[in-house]
């Protein structure tokens, strides 16, 4: 009975917030602040350093450069993108299925 009453007094949003903070204690202090906004503004930004790429190629010689793994859009520190990793950006030559 007491536990139920306690739940009723906490607004659902706050309860959800507590859940989130329990899972991710390091979540930014600023509520919904500029982290999201900066991510939104940076959409589409690709990172490629030709110096790193050429250095890595020279070091590796015959070996393969480490590949991206399943998520090709994830930019990680270890991996240097190669031309093979770039997703195909050919335009859709196929007609839309809505018109089919």
């Amino acid at each position: 009975q007491d536990a139920q009453e306690k739940d009723k007094s906490i607004p659902p949003e706050r309860a959800e917030e507590a859940k989130l903070k329990a899972k991710y204690p390091n979540l930014g202090q600023k509520p919904g602040g500029s982290d999201f906004l900066m991510k939104r503004l940076q959409k589409g930004q690709k990172y490629f350093d030709s110096g790193d790429y050429n250095m890595a190629k020279a070091k590796m010689k015959n070996k393969q450069l480490p590949s991206t793994g399943p998520d090709k859009n994830l930019v990680t520190g270890d991996h240097i993108p190669t031309p093979q990793d770039l997703p195909q950006r050919k335009s859709s030559l196929v007609t839309s299925k809505l018109a089919g």
């Binding site: 917030e17 335009s91 299925k97």
Partner: protein
């Protein structure tokens, strides 16, 4: 909710569905915008693959009095292609963010379509005749041997199978550093605005090498960035007035007569927040994803994550009406944040006949607003009767002329028969884009990759 009773309640029936049946959806087929033209005869869709498909309503068949004309494919073309900006190392998606039709001035139709960076003016024209009877060419195009030409004739136009051609007439490029979220044609039919995250530009439809910046909210120091522009629209009647919404839940109304750069708003619409209710999610769910003026121009509607709000332009301090779209999601915000759904941008629209029956002093006889939700549900709110309804866009309901069954989500407690519990909702099935025919009770509802058309039951 809107029940079967009530003489004036609209009874929605399935009419058509377009698109592939299979569950495996290709990225390119994700529908990103839906828009009727000014007469309602044409319905355009844009997708993530940069393609535009235009449907045309059949002429009404006098013998088929039980339904209005069906929409069939009229034209389809590749509007935008993927690009890479090498200077900024920026990948530019071909996804069509918005389509806006121009009012028809001559035989051809014109629309503006935009991706993140470039707006294009497309001309869609019909060709139903071609010249035949050339003197020097055969009908198949091969040149005739000049020595065989013994008579002279005048080529004549003869009917041919209708061909619909789309051609890009203007390309408005290189004016946006950030991503374009809105375009809106001015009531002067000569200019239009385009809005990105931080700036709004004014263009003339004839001029592509210049645009005027009318709003700039970029801070001198990007560390100080606190809000972005999420949508913008011109007033339907007043050619110097426009509004833009923000990620903080505010709407600013600006008057271009006040100054060249409209950084200072004429009106600021904001609902005061209860500080005791503030949480990590407050700002995110207050972000406005769409703003639409009513046809009269007296009101505007905004959509945030959980609700639709109606604002009277004469009252800045709070909305006049608030409608809860899916309040039961408030206790699911944690997981909706984790799966990114909390950032979904739902649009909203007014019913079409809100336009014709309105004058400044008399409210429209019928005023309904519509918006999408999850599980392929969409919601309508009747502003006069205060009733609301939840319907589903699903191929299971596709018997024409059968009235759609209202849906109900069970928020908590015991689930009644025919209700669906919140935890069973499919959050991958989102209805972000809907459109209402400008004159009739016909609506277009886009699921991820299918377009549904519903009509009211005609008696």
């Amino acid at each position: 909710f809107l029940g079967a009773g009530g003489g004036n309640d609209i009874q929605w029936c399935f009419s058509q569905v377009k698109g592939a049946v299979d569950d495996d959806v290709a990225e390119a087929d994700i529908i990103s915008t839906v828009e009727f033209n000014h007469s309602g005869e044409l319905l355009a869709t844009g997708d993530k693959g940069g393609r535009v498909v235009i449907f045309q309503q059949e002429q009404e068949n006098k013998t088929q009095s039980h339904s209005r004309g069906e929409y069939n494919v009229y034209s389809t073309f590749q509007s935008h292609e993927p690009e890479f900006d090498y200077l900024k190392s920026l990948e530019i998606e071909e996804k069509i963010n918005k389509i806006r039709w121009l009012p028809q001035k001559n035989a051809a139709q014109f629309l503006l379509s935009t991706n993140d960076k470039t707006i294009k003016l497309w001309k869609i024209s019909e060709r139903d005749k071609r010249p035949e009877g050339y003197n020097l060419k055969e009908e198949d195009g091969r040149y005739r041997d000049p020595t065989t030409v013994t008579t002279l004739r005048v080529p004549v136009f003869r009917p041919m199978d209708l061909m619909v051609e789309a051609s890009p007439r203007r390309i408005f490029a290189n004016a946006h550093t950030y991503h374009i979220n809105s375009i809106s044609i001015n009531s002067d039919y000569e200019t239009y605005l385009s809005a990105d995250d931080l700036r709004i530009n004014l263009w003339h439809l004839e001029i592509t090498d210049r645009s005027f910046n009318i709003v700039d909210i970029k801070p001198a120091n990007m560390e100080e960035l606190t809000e972005v522009i999420t949508a913008a629209e011109f007033h339907p009647n007043s050619c110097s007035t426009f509004v833009y919404s923000s990620s903080k839940g505010t709407i600013r109304l600006c008057d271009m007569r006040a100054s060249a750069l409209c950084d200072r708003h004429s009106k600021l619409f904001e609902e005061p927040e209860d500080p005791s209710n503030r949480s990590f999610f407050s700002e995110i769910i207050s972000s406005i994803s769409d703003v639409k003026f009513s046809h009269s121009g007296r009101y505007m509607m905004t959509r945030d994550y959980l609700s639709v709000k109606i604002w009277d332009l004469n009252m800045e301090n709070r909305p006049v009406e608030t409608y809860q779209v899916h309040e039961y999601l408030r206790s699911k915000l944690c997981s909706l944040y984790e799966n990114d759904c909390i950032f979904d941008k739902f649009e909203c629209c007014w019913n079409g006949s809100d336009r014709q029956l309105t004058s400044f002093f008399f409210p429209p006889l019928c005023s309904i607003v519509m918006t999408g939700s999850y599980n392929n549900f969409f919601r309508m709110f009747d502003r006069n009767t205060k009733r609301d309804i939840t319907l589903e866009a699903s191929r299971e309901n596709n018997k024409p002329r059968t009235v759609l069954k209202p849906r109900k989500v069970c928020a908590s407690g015991k689930r009644k028969k025919d209700e669906i519990s919140v935890d069973s909702l499919d959050f991958n099935k989102k209805i972000l884009h809907t459109a209402w025919h400008p004159k009739e009770n016909i609506i277009a509802v886009a699921t991820t990759n299918n377009l549904y058309i519903f009509q009211d039951k005609m008696n």
